[in-house]
Amino acid sequence: MFMHIFFYRFKCLIRDKQLVFWTLLFPILLGTFFYMAFSNLNDEASFHPIHAAVVPSGNSHYDAPFVDVLRSVSKGKNRLFMMKTAASQAEADRWLKAGKIDGYFSSGETIQLTVNESGLNQSIMKSFVDQYRTSSAAAAQIAKDNPNALQNGLLQDLSDHRSYVKEVSGGGAEPNNVLNYFYTLIAMACLYGSFWGAKEVMDIQADQTERAARVNTAPIHKLKMFIAGSLAALIILFAEILILLAYLRFGLKIDFGPRTGLVVLTALLGSILGISFGAFISAVVKAGEGLKIACLIFVTMAGSFLSGMMYQNMKYIVSQYVPLLSWLNPVNLLTDAFYALYYYDNLYRFALNAGMMCLFIIVFCAGTYLIIRRRRYARL
C-alpha cells in the first residue's frame, strides 16, 4: 500500500512539467546566466600586469631586497608588474611622460612612488609600496637569516595581486566573491522545491481539491498517504538539487571546497527544508492554488534577495543591521551553510546554520501536522 501510493505520487509529481521547470531547469538556466555574467569578475587572466619602473638608489643595502621583491612579483603568469629598471630618475620621468609606464618606484631608505595620474594601477602600486614599507624591516631580516623564506611565503603575500585589487575595490569581501551568488542559487532552488510540498498537501486536504476529498474516503490513514507522498517529493527534489550541484561543480567549475559529504548533506537538509516549508504554507494558506504559489515565490525571492542573489552586499548589510532577519531567512541559512563550509576551517558556523535549519524543519513539520491531522472538515 505504502509503495503503491509512493509510486503513483512519484509519477504524479515528476510528470508535472511546470514544477520540474521551476525547480530544476530554471535554477540551471539562472546558474548559467550568472556564470556568463560573472565569468570576468574572478578571471585571473583579465588582470593585466602594470607597467612600472624602478630607479635604484645605488645603495645595495636598500636596493637588493626591494629589487628582489619587485623581481619576484614581475614574473610568472600572475605577475603584478612589467618591471623595467631605469638608469636615472630622469629616464623614468621620460617613460612616465611618454605613457610607457604607469609610475615608478625610487629605491632608498624609504621607497618613493611617482605617478602621473590616479587610477586603479596607481592605487595598486601605492598599496604595494605601503605593504612593502610595513613589512620591509621584517623581510630584510628574514632575507638575511633565511633567504628561502622569501620565495616560500612572504613574497606570495606581497605578490598576490588579488589582495591589492580587493583593497582598491574597497570592500572587506572575501577572495572568491562570485561563489555566494551560486550558493544563493542552490538555496533558491531548494526553496522552490516547496512547490512539491505544497502539491502534496493540496492532494491530501479534502477542503482544497476534489481529488483529495476522494482520497480521504479511502480506507487508509491520511497521514500515511501524506508521508508516502512527501517522501516521493523529497526524493525528487533532492535528486534535482544534486543535479544542480553537479552541473555547477563539473559544468561551471564552481568550487564548493573539499567537504563534499557535508555539501551533499546540506543539500539534503535544504531539500527537506523546502518540502516542509511548502507543505506548511500550503496547509496554512487554504485559499486557491494561485495564492499559495504567490506566497512561496514571494518568500523565496525575498529570501534570495536578502541573501545577496541580486546584490551581493545585501547579505552583509542584513547581517550587520538586522542580524535577526538573517537567522530567520531560510535562504540565507542555506547560503551561509555552503559559505561556511567553503571558507571556514572549523564547523561552528556551519553547525549553527544547520541547527537553525533543523529548527525550521521541526516548526514547519509540526505546524503542518497540527493542521492536516484533522480528518473531518468544517467545509469543503
Binding site: K11, D203, I220, R376, L380
Partner: protein, 310 residues
C-alpha cells in the same frame, strides 16, 4: 439498513445547510436524493462520508457508526464526486489503478478489476489518454470508473451527469442500473427529476436541507391532489365560461394561456370527459388534446409552491 441518518444538523456559519435530515437507505435499492441547487445534497453526502463535521445527528453505514477510521465500512463504499476528481498527470488506466489500489492490495486482482471498470465505462480505447485530452462525457465516465473499480457494495454518486450530453447521460444511467443489478446499493443525487424518475426505486425530495417528501414514485405522486394535467388547444373562450369550467367536479384549476387551456384535475377519473362535453355544448372550438400524469416536479411544486427547476 445500509445507510441510516437521523436528525442530521449541519451549519455553515449562520446558514443551516441540513436541517434535521433523516434518511434510511435499504440494501439493493437505487435511492434518489432529489433537490434543487443548494438544497444540501452534496452536504448530506459529505457528512455521510465523514468528510464534513456536523453539528448534530447520527450516521450509520452498514450498521456501524461512520467515522474517518471506519475502514471496514469505507472499503465497501465507492464514491463519485460532483466534480471530476482525477489526477491530470496520470493516464486513464493509471488513475483507475491508483484509486483501486487504495482498496485492493492484491496486484493481479487489481489488474482484473481495473480492466473490468474500463470495459464497464467503455474507455478501452482511451487507456493511455491523459484526462486533459478527454471530452467532458468521457471524463465523467473516467470519474465514475475511479469510484467503482473496487466493486463496492454501496455506491454514492453526487450528480454524476452534470454537463453531460444526452447520449453519454443515458450510457451513465444504464451503467448505474447495471451496477445495481449486480448487487450494489446506489445513492444517486440529482436535480434532474427525469433522471431520478427513470432510475430510482425510492426517492427523497430535499429542499433547504429538509426532506419534504420521500417514498417510491407512486407514493410521492399519490401524496398530492393532482391526478392529471390536461392541455387543450382552444381558440376562444370567455371569462364566464372559464369560471364554469372551474366549477366542474374533479377540476382543480383552469388557466387559459396562449390559446391553450391548462386544466389540472384530481385523482378521480372522468374530468377529461366532463371538460370535453362542456366545450361541445358551449360550442367552443378546440384542437389537439394532451394529457399528462404528474411528475416529481409537480410534487415539488405542490409541496413547496415553487418549481424544482427554474
Amino acid at each position: 439498513m445500509i445507510i441510516h441518518v437521523k436528525n442530521l444538523l449541519k451549519r455553515y456559519g449562520d446558514l443551516v445547510a441540513l436541517d434535521h435530515l433523516s434518511l434510511d437507505i435499504k440494501e439493493g435499492e437505487i435511492f434518489g436524493l432529489l433537490g434543487p441547487n443548494g438544497s444540501g445534497k452534496s452536504t448530506a453526502i459529505n457528512c455521510i462520508l465523514s468528510l464534513l463535521r456536523f453539528d448534530k445527528g447520527e450516521i450509520e453505514i452498514f450498521g456501524k457508526k461512520m467515522t474517518p477510521d471506519a475502514y471496514e465500512s469505507k472499503r465497501n463504499i465507492g464514491i463519485v464526486m460532483q466534480n471530476v476528481a482525477v489526477f491530470n498527470e496520470l493516464t486513464v488506466y493509471e488513475n483507475i489503478d491508483y484509486f483501486c489500489g487504495l482498496y485492493v492490495h492484491d496486484k493481479s486482482e487489481r489488474k482484473r478489476l481495473v480492466e473490468e471498470a474500463i470495459d464497464f465505462v467503455e474507455l478501452g480505447n482511451f487507456k493511455k489518454f491523459h484526462p486533459k485530452k478527454l471530452s467532458g462525457g468521457l471524463l465523467r465516465r473516467l470519474n465514475i470508473a475511479c469510484g467503482i473499480a473496487h466493486r463496492p457494495k454501496l455506491i454514492i454518486l453526487d450528480e454524476p451527469t452534470v454537463a453531460v450530453d444526452p447520449q453519454s447521460r443515458n450510457k451513465i444511467l444504464e451503467g448505474i442500473a447495471r451496477l445495481n443489478e449486480q448487487g450494489a446499493t446506489i445513492v444517486y443525487t440529482s436535480h434532474y427529476m427525469e433522471e431520478v424518475e427513470q432510475l430510482c426505486s425510492r426517492i427523497a425530495i430535499l429542499d433547504k436541507g429538509r426532506v419534504i417528501a420521500s417514498g417510491t414514485q407512486e407514493e410521492l405522486k399519490a401524496m398530492i391532489t393532482l391526478g392529471e394535467k390536461i392541455t387543450i388547444e382552444a381558440f376562444s373562450i370567455n371569462e364566464h365560461e372559464l369560471q364554469q369550467l372551474r366549477e366542474l367536479s374533479g377540476v382543480l384549476s383552469v388557466q387559459w394561456v396562449e390559446k391553450r387551456l391548462v386544466i389540472k384535475s384530481g385523482k378521480k377519473a372522468g374530468s377529461l370527459e366532463a371538460v370535453l362535453d362542456f366545450l361541445k355544448t358551449h360550442e367552443i372550438g378546440f384542437g389537439r388534446i394532451y394529457s399528462e400524469l404528474p411528475t416529481l416536479n409537480d410534487v415539488f411544486l405542490e409541496i413547496t409552491g415553487k418549481q424544482l427547476r427554474d
